[in-house]
Amino acid sequence: MQVIPKFLVRGVALALALALAPVVALAQEKKPPADESALGEFVVTGTAHEHVTRLAILPSLSPDMADVVVRGVVRRDFQLTGMFDLIADKKAPEGLYGFNDPVDVDAWKKLGAEVIVKVAARAVPKDKTKVEVHGLCYFLNVGKDPVYQKTLVVDRSIARVTAHRITDALLGAITGRPGGFASHFTFSGKWGTNRRIFSMDSDGNDLKPVSSPDVTAIAPTWGPGADIFYTVSKNYAPFKLMQLSGGTPKAIKVPFRTSIYSVDFNKDKTKMAIAVAGKLGSAIYVGNPDGSGMKKVSTTPLATHPVWSPSGKLAWIGGGARNGTQRVYVDGKAISPAGFTAAAPTFCDTADGIRLVYAVEVRGNRQELVMSSERGGGIARLTQHQGSNSYPACSPDGRMLAFFSTRGGKKGMYFMSLKRWKTQLLTRQYGQSLRWDALPPPPKSEQP
């Protein structure tokens, strides 16, 4: 039985659609139009070319500790990227290198510099707790005027972090992709018979244990508000999910009584994935960061080590009696090669696109690192015959890969430049479950 005439319903629907159309159009995100002529025509010859930018970082003669720290941090950060041909300090032209001294652009040009970076810091005369940090950058093919210039006044205690932020801003100016040195690590390391959670700056500075020595703490990750989330067990009890907020650990309520094996958050920290022990295996659940709204997402009998990609894909290590070895699954599909036991996947948001890096077990109880596209294609090996290499973690800017290695008898954490494939020892600290994340953004007044 038709109560309302059909023409009336259709009329009202059309009126609503017409009325809402402008609102919907306004609500849609407007992307800036692409510059079609920016790239122009380029000649493809099939020959590999690479140009490494020759970069000069001005030396410092200042006795001020803040200046020494800031300049040292910036130079080391640029070295760690492996992207530049840094001009040695001993080749620096004679001249003055004070806070306000002008840069002798012509003298540096003669040394072949293409980019000049100057960083300096000095105490604020009226407030000894503050330092003035100065950073500027010249492109010598542009001229003698700096293309980037910034002076910040920050608390002396954060001079080091500010130096990392200045490096990131300078990398953004030089390459269009900001750096990822204003970041920190967390990992699980041995402590007597237990394991503790450690945190450390991106350059290996300020290493400290953050979990209690009386419990076994594993699988840490950075969560909302730069809090560390990890799992703990005491006296062989099931592992519980914990949040370390302001140095105080508190338990996260999750609807499971069994062990929580590992945890991870998506890019904007609005979703939490955890690996939960079951009767015969384990499963991945996804829910809110407070532990509510958990829903099972894994499809394999065994599922551990969840990790989110920057594009929102969820990867885990899955397997089972029928599947044989453990493989990397991305959104429910096995993407690592069959026949190899895979472990510890991580995603890198590189300049070439999103890449997946994970460890595979090889002969001699060793692990090697391999890299593939986000969907598993184009697999390439990153390490070979260099000890055991495990637990990769990518820098927030996707330029560098950190991992634990036993190469050359020197156990420790190593850096690999994903641009130049150069590997450097960062620290002799060895551990498991390495995670690397950006620091929370500073107040606007402290942004480089």
Partner: protein, 269 residues
């Protein structure tokens, strides 16, 4: 508890004792009687099984036959990726030669090298112009052009932001490297001298997800083999994703990119 009631009455104890004696006596009498009996039980042989003839009907096994093969090959990881050494480029320059023919055709169009310039190695890659020429560009006298711009710019320049100009340059190099990794000039199919002169422009359409969605070849190089190589290269590229533009300048990748495929870099023997 000492002078309390007894658990059993004397009469009960007496009867129990008598019954026990009767049971014990009866047991020994039964043993004695059984030993004196002459009764023997003869063991009977088991009957042999009867043979029953049955008809056997052959049937086809429904399971498929196993495929002939060899032992399972063990999976192997690829070798570690090794970075290719960059090829040093040399600018095409002519040195005066006493053997040069005295004809107008023998006059080279390339710039003349200085007298003491070293000759490039025999296998060097000689190009018209070396990439990333860092020499300052002579823009002539300081322009008095109204509007935005840099006094260090060039007349043909369009970009007013030096940071963006550098980012565009670096991204162009990245896109160029991406295409270079996928193109091999048809060496051996075209005479080398001819191959090095061939080139053809392409307009590659780029989708919203940065994947190459299609292409148009603009004209012809004049050689069908070279054109076919460029076409097959582009066909294999369709569907693949270009590297992302720098995050600070996401607008520099438009909906079309314009590679020009050239045989100038062909490594002929």
């Amino acid at each position: 508890m000492g002078g309390g009631t007894r658990t059993f009455a004397p009469g009960e104890v007496l009867i129990a004792g008598l019954l026990a004696v009767v049971v014990e006596t009866g047991f020994f009498l039964l043993l004695g009687f059984a030993g004196t009996s002459r009764l023997h039980i003869k063991a009977r042989d088991k009957a042999p099984p009867r043979e029953i003839p049955i008809a056997v009907q052959p049937v086809i096994d429904p399971l498929p036959l196993l495929k002939l093969g060899s032992k399972k090959v063990k999976a192997k990881l690829p070798d570690m990726w090794k970075k290719q050494a960059p090829v040093k480029q040399y600018e095409e320059k002519s040195a005066p030669s006493p053997d040069a023919k005295q004809t107008p055709d023998a006059i080279t169009s390339a710039p003349v090298a200085t007298a003491d310039a070293e000759a490039p190695p025999p296998d060097a890659e000689v190009v018209k112009k070396v990439d990333e020429n860092l020499q300052p560009i002579d823009a002539g006298p300081t322009p008095t052009i109204p509007g935005e711009g840099s006094p260090n710019g060039v007349k043909q320049g369009t970009e007013t932001d030096p940071l963006k100009a550098r980012a565009v340059s670096m991204y162009t190099m990245k896109i160029l490297g991406w295409f270079n990794a996928r193109f091999r000039p048809p060496v051996g199919q075209i005479p080398c001298d001819e191959l090095k002169k061939l080139s053809v422009g392409v307009a590659a359409n780029v989708g919203g997800d940065r994947s190459v969605s299609g292409f148009t070849i603009n004209g012809s190089s004049g050689n069908p083999v070279f054109d076919a190589k460029v076409r097959s290269t582009m066909q294999s590229i369709v569907g693949q994703q270009l590297p992302p533009p720098p995050p600070l300048y996401p607008d520099i990748l438009g909906s079309t990119v314009h590679p020009r495929f050239s045989g100038a870099g062909a490594k002929c023997r």
